[in-house]
Symmetry: C2
Subunit: 299 residues, 2 copies
Amino acid sequence: MIFSKISVCFWYNEQVMKAFLECISCIIRQTIEILRRIVRSEKKRQRILAAVIGKMAKVDIHKMSPPEATKYAHDEIQRITGIKDLYKEPKKQNNREALQLYPYLKRLVRKARDPLLMAVRLAIAGNIIDYGALAEFDIKHTVKDVLGKKFAVSDYKRFRRDLKKTKLLLYIGDNAGEIVFDRVLIEELIKKIEVVFVVKSKPVLNDVLMEDAKMVGLDKVVKVIKSGSDFAGTIPSKGTKEFKELYKSAEMVISKGQGNFETLDQEKKNIYFLLKMKCPSLGRVTGFKAGDIILKRSR
Amino acid sequence: MIFSKISVCFWYNEQVMKAFLECISCIIRQTIEILRRIVRSEKKRQRILAAVIGKMAKVDIHKMSPPEATKYAHDEIQRITGIKDLYKEPKKQNNREALQLYPYLKRLVRKARDPLLMAVRLAIAGNIIDYGALAEFDIKHTVKDVLGKKFAVSDYKRFRRDLKKTKLLLYIGDNAGEIVFDRVLIEELIKKIEVVFVVKSKPVLNDVLMEDAKMVGLDKVVKVIKSGSDFAGTIPSKGTKEFKELYKSAEMVISKGQGNFETLDQEKKNIYFLLKMKCPSLGRVTGFKAGDIILKRSR
């Protein structure tokens, strides 16, 4: 069972997706993965895990969204260990690994019959790199695999057409590592339009922060702003002033990954969602299957 | 993360394999699967899940074996729901599905260059059918897949040689559905030797009971006895009198599946383990990988 960053408003939004029972086993699985990585002593791991499980036993899962439930677990780990960024090392490692692929990705785009489509496909391939959802992965294999796969939904023609009417595009990033793939797509986009890249304000899972944008040199390519979010999704109404203004003025938005898809799906805005569906439970609700490759325009 | 029926003595046996932290998320995942199947009301599912999680939070996982930890969860489900056999329907369904394949399996054996080897391979293929470890499966695909795969360990030559010196073989069954595949192998074996088939004494996961042996007609082919075990493994010293006697007099034992492998691995007896390794955590400990096809003689 895969739990991914299904991120939905857990404030006073009516469009709240509630967590599934299955989220609990995934949150615990994720907790064990984190503990194996950041805690050396098996006894201490066990103690923290017991504390997290104790919290989860009391949580009314149907009264909150998946990221809220996840936050319960992560807050507990952070509280006991004193570590604020639970994915600091994996994020750096992902960035490093993806950066090594950068010349290869650029070559793929350059040689493609439709370089923009190739860049879009690569941006989705980059979305597979998600420590929150996958324990192990092989980037190169994934790149080839995704390039060979068909989209479950593809609004690419409209995407291409819309770009021609666009001056400013807001590009909402998702994960570390993936951000290198985003850079490749962004470098195609900025040949014609202005792009602003959006990162999270505080550490949450392996989501990109300002330091990731700097690490992969994206800050030298486009303007990078913080969204204001500290959970695995983006809610425009709760964003920073700068984010809200740019979100309003942008004719087009690219939203990467499942967490952003879940939080932005109901927005009345010209948003293109690029993601791979990772959670089977969420897949069932939305009509997509886990593993589906999606390039979907907002309703 | 897959939790399988890693069954180890949790009495006063020194050879006790302790549970992994990872077992907890798998036990909870398994609990959710069971609840989705046997409980209609989502609220009730949630309440039982909370009770199970509450139990698991208090469990010192490193002081018990995986099946003992599993038993905590299952006992709680059984206590609250009043249902004693949590896998009653899936077991029947597995038997029915596998029975439909029976003529196909017999044909495969008949046409094989080495019918015994084919029957052994099929018996392992049958081991994939494990509701305790896999949420979804496709039997025919699995059959073909396993037949195409190489063994990670194969003591087949010795197995074949030992059979020639054997009068009585004790065949310790594992799961429903799989038992039809066992029947196919047993029908090859009884051309030369006597075979007694062993089932569990009480319901535990999808392990075979006397009723399963009857449902697939195995009781018409060989003698079927109960082992005395009510957990997902077999410990000879704790068996019924009949089991102990036959275990002692049999020159050879076939042990099916991971749970039996874990409980019988340390026995000083001529045992052949037929299984697919399903749990990655256990795989790491034993040197096998999850997915490995194993035909291994006891040490």
